[in-house]
């Protein structure tokens, strides 16, 4: 009689201790995540807003003592701004119209249909990310330049065209949208492929049983379920295109298409003194305002997240749709994309690495083919260090970003109904670094860390930290979309079995998110390998990386060496990619 109450009391005590422990680990992690994200994001954000109200024409933001709204006035009263806004809108809309439907279509084809060689294509589709965008754009110029573009030359010969230019001209708004759109496909594909892969087929099967065809099912069932992932992708890429300068820099000047990033370029890449951080930051603040508006819309549209959950405890295995007669055209589309976006730029890069200067293939240039570029790079005393630093940076940045992104996405998705608003705060704040120009992030890090008591200034870790901040937006978007499709009931079941929160996260949630995590890991690693603006601001002789070496070589006219190092970088990235794919394959095999 005495034993029972005592056992019950002990049991209650144990349970409350266990709940307290669970709560404390979770609360502690939430607090830590909030702290880290806020800290990482606030540094560049503060610099952006601070610089935007400082007079910085010949001064750095922290030197200037004049508070002014002049930067905003300069932007808003400039007579060219109306056309800049219009061009930015058209360029963004056009690029997204080319890139996103193609990415969605490819993701659907490669993840949900039974087209042949889809695993190979799914791997190859990611390779364009590893090719430096400058060289990729140059490859497109070699194809579509109105005079010497290969496609134009062939078409003129075939069609008996009399002029020496056309029919296509890459130096137009549509040319810019086309090239930019194709550049978006691999990253956008990565962002949504995992969601397609993780989809519960039961709704689609019911639709099929109700007599709807594959196309109708996709439009009426699949895409609506994918809404959070698609919206997240759309919002992210609106900001990415507004901010991107590679294509406007190479094609837009000629086309006389001035966009917002061109204005930021002029403000920040002043070879005639100090960058005009005030003006660049005022422009960045406007992009920030657009991002905040988009985030608000996103949160309104995905308020009832459980509607989009498709991975439940009931077991699922997405079926592969047989496209029938459409299999051949669908496969052809994928192959054409891979040929255009992967093979061609890589060939141009490899060809450039074998030539003393860039020349179109001909008998003369064939005679000049040499491996000298590959030998000469090893004469550089820093190349081995640069390769090592680059690999370390890629792995550390990826690991840190993915860990942070998983935690952010978990709290964003699972605490959405909590009244404290922390979920919305995390979702919004983690997206904001995307709006801050990289050079401003670099300056903010110099400003803060040169005074920081912990000596990470001048080390590789400061670059890793800056990159983690920068890539948090993409990784947290992708992980949030993927997690939204995982129903909470699996985690609830685990918790009912008294598994601690951390173990549930590690043993239940993370394995379900593994495909998205691997994709994000690869995306961050590849982007970290290529990142230049922040690295240029923060590196030193000890922390030299491959991207800065390639850039220096290119600037000094050593195109063969720059291209040779580019080829090596692509091969390293391909190794990472291959590693990820082998891991996924082994995981799938063990699952089945």
């Amino acid at each position: 009689m005495n034993i029972a109450p005592s056992a019950a009391a002990k049991n209650v005590q144990l349970r409350s201790w266990s709940i307290a422990r669970k709560l404390s680990v979770r609360s502690l992690t939430l607090g830590l995540t909030l702290l880290i994200v806020t800290y990482l994001v606030l540094i560049p954000l503060f610099m952006l807003l601070y610089a935007s109200i400082k007079s910085t024409e010949d001064k750095l933001p922290f030197e200037s003592t004049v508070i002014t709204l002049g930067n905003y006035t300069a932007v808003l009263t400039n007579p060219t701004m109306a056309s800049i806004f219009l061009n930015t809108f058209l360029f963004t809309a056009g690029s997204l119209a080319v890139g996103l439907p193609l990415a969605i279509l490819m993701a659907w084809l490669l993840e949900r249909t039974a087209i042949p060689a889809r695993r190979w294509i799914a791997t190859l589709i990611l390779v364009p990310m590893t090719i430096p965008s400058l060289l990729s754009a140059i490859a497109w110029i070699q194809l579509l330049d109105p005079r010497i573009g290969l496609i134009n030359v062939v078409l003129r010969a075939v069609l008996g065209w009399s002029g020496d230019t056309g029919p296509f001209d890459i130096y137009t708004l549509s040319g810019m949208c086309f090239v930019q759109g194709l550049r978006l496909v691999p990253s956008a594909y990565l962002m949504i492929a995992a969601s397609f892969r993780a989809m519960d087929p039961s709704l689609e099967e019911q639709s099929a049983m109700a007599g709807r065809g594959a196309a109708q099912t996709t439009l009426r069932i699949t895409l609506p379920i994918m809404r959070p992932a698609l919206l997240a992708m759309l919002i992210y890429y609106i900001i990415v295109v507004i901010e991107s300068f590679d294509i406007p820099g190479l094609l837009g000047f000629t086309a006389r298409i001035r966009v917002l990033s061109t204005a930021i370029y002029w403000a920040t890449h002043s070879e005639v003194g100090l960058p005009d951080y005030g003006l660049a930051s005022a422009l960045g603040a406007m992009v920030l305002a657009v991002a905040l508006l988009l985030m608000w819309i996103y949160q309104r549209l995905t308020a009832h997240q459980e509607r989009f959950a498709t991975i439940t405890g009931k077991g699922y295995r997405p079926r592969q749709i047989d496209l029938g007669a459409w299999t051949a055209p669908a496969t052809a589309l994928c192959v054409v994309y891979v040929a255009l976006a992967v093979v061609l730029p890589f060939l141009v890069l490899a060809w450039t690495s074998l030539q003393p200067f860039y020349a179109v293939p001909s008998a003369d240039s064939l005679a000049r083919v040499s491996l000298e570029g590959y030998f000469r790079i090893w004469q550089e005393s820093t190349v081995v260090r640069a390769l090592w630093n680059t690999m370390v940076l890629a792995l550390v940045t990826s690991a840190a970003t993915i860990l942070l992104a998983v935690l952010v996405s978990w709290f964003v998705v699972r605490r959405r109904k909590a009244a404290d608003g922390l979920s919305h705060y995390l979702a919004t704040v983690s997206f904001l670094p995307q709006c801050v120009p990289s050079i401003v992030i670099g300056l903010a890090f110099i400003f803060v860390y040169v005074r920081f008591p912990i000596p990470i200034y001048g080390t590789l870790w400061i670059i890793a930290l800056a990159m983690t901040t920068r890539y948090l937006a993409y990784s947290s978007r992708t992980m949030t979309s993927a997690l939204m499709q995982v129903h909470g009931e699996l985690e609830e079941a685990s918790q009912m079995a008294r598994a601690p929160w951390a173990r549930t996260l590690r043993r239940i949630t993370m394995p379900l998110l593994a495909p998205a995590m691997i994709n994000v890991f690869f995306w961050v690693a590849v982007h970290a390998m290529q990142e230049l603006s922040m690295a240029l601001m923060l590196y030193n002789p000890e922390t030299v990386v491959v991207s800065t070496m390639i850039w220096s070589m290119w600037q000094n006219g050593r195109t063969a060496e720059a291209a040779a190092l580019g080829v090596i970088l692509i091969l390293l990235s391909a190794l990472l990619l291959l590693g990820g794919q082998v891991f996924l394959y082994l995981r799938r095999s063990s699952d089945s």
Binding site: T262, A263, Y358, R368, S381, Y539
Partner: protein, 359 residues
Amino acid sequence: MLNARSYMKSARTVAIAPIIFGLLVWASAGYAQEKGRSGGDAMAQLYAAAKKEGTVVIWGPTDAIIYQRMQAALDKQYPGIKIEHFESIPEPLVQRIIAESQAGKPAAVDIIQSGSLRALRPLIDRDMLAPYSGWEKDFGLDAVYAGQRFVGAYNLTLPIAYNTKMVSAQEAPKSWEELAEPKWKGRKLIIEARLVPFAMLGTEWGKGKATELTKKILAQQPIIVQGGTTVANALAGGQVSIAIGTYAYTIERLKKQGAAVDWVPVSPLPVLTSAVGVLKTARHPNGARFFAGWMGTAEGQNIRYATTGQANEVGRTAIGAVAERIKAAQPAIILETDKTFATILEIQRELGKMLGALR
């Protein structure tokens, strides 16, 4: 008599003249010897102090290979000085030097180098560079600017370049104004987006004329890209007939490699100055002064020229193929100095607005 007196006078003059001439030669030789000895002594003293410091840290955009070869040459002639080089463009370096200095942690760098004088202007504005008279006095260098705070390392000449397969030497433009002729309309020109040559022309012609010509040339539908290498590649690859914004030494190097390109020493000819300056906070100030001066000597110049084709292309110490062609053609030179860079900057900002700059 008059004739005899006159003859005697002439004979006396003839006899005295060689003596006076001899005295003059002796005196000037002695003076030169003395000056040389004082320059040599000063250099020897500077070298001794530099050797004591042991190291020189230089930041700038020059290829590492140049410094590797300079190190080998120094080791033979002036052993005991180790060059530590960090290759990067000057703009972020300048910002970092300013930020670190203001945080009370001066950057661990002795010499800053840039491809143009203008890029280092913020350091002059903040009085962060140390003047040194020895570059002129002891090393005999003439490209010394901004109150002896900079010494020229090499020049970058900005000519009109052309593809010899597409344009003959006769057809190639001989003046900047010719670029506005209708025959160059429609993607036949490529121009580097920063429009530096046109801004420099403005210092000679005035802002109005330079702006007007730039407008006319931009109306020719040229291809406009950022980066001199991209411009040079497009020309060598046959994408365009004419290129503006690439350097004469780059074209000379491409020619040697077999590319069908050449350049016109058009008048006036813009010439940029790549300069080096020693920071006031240098940890190895003597080594920095010595190495900065030595780079400008014939030996330093020859190593740089043999490695990359860069050298002083105008002035007393000019060497190399570009310098020879400039000497032969005798164009008017628009040299970037501390006297002109403020004007170049102002015009460049104005021209930038044509391509999307807001102010």
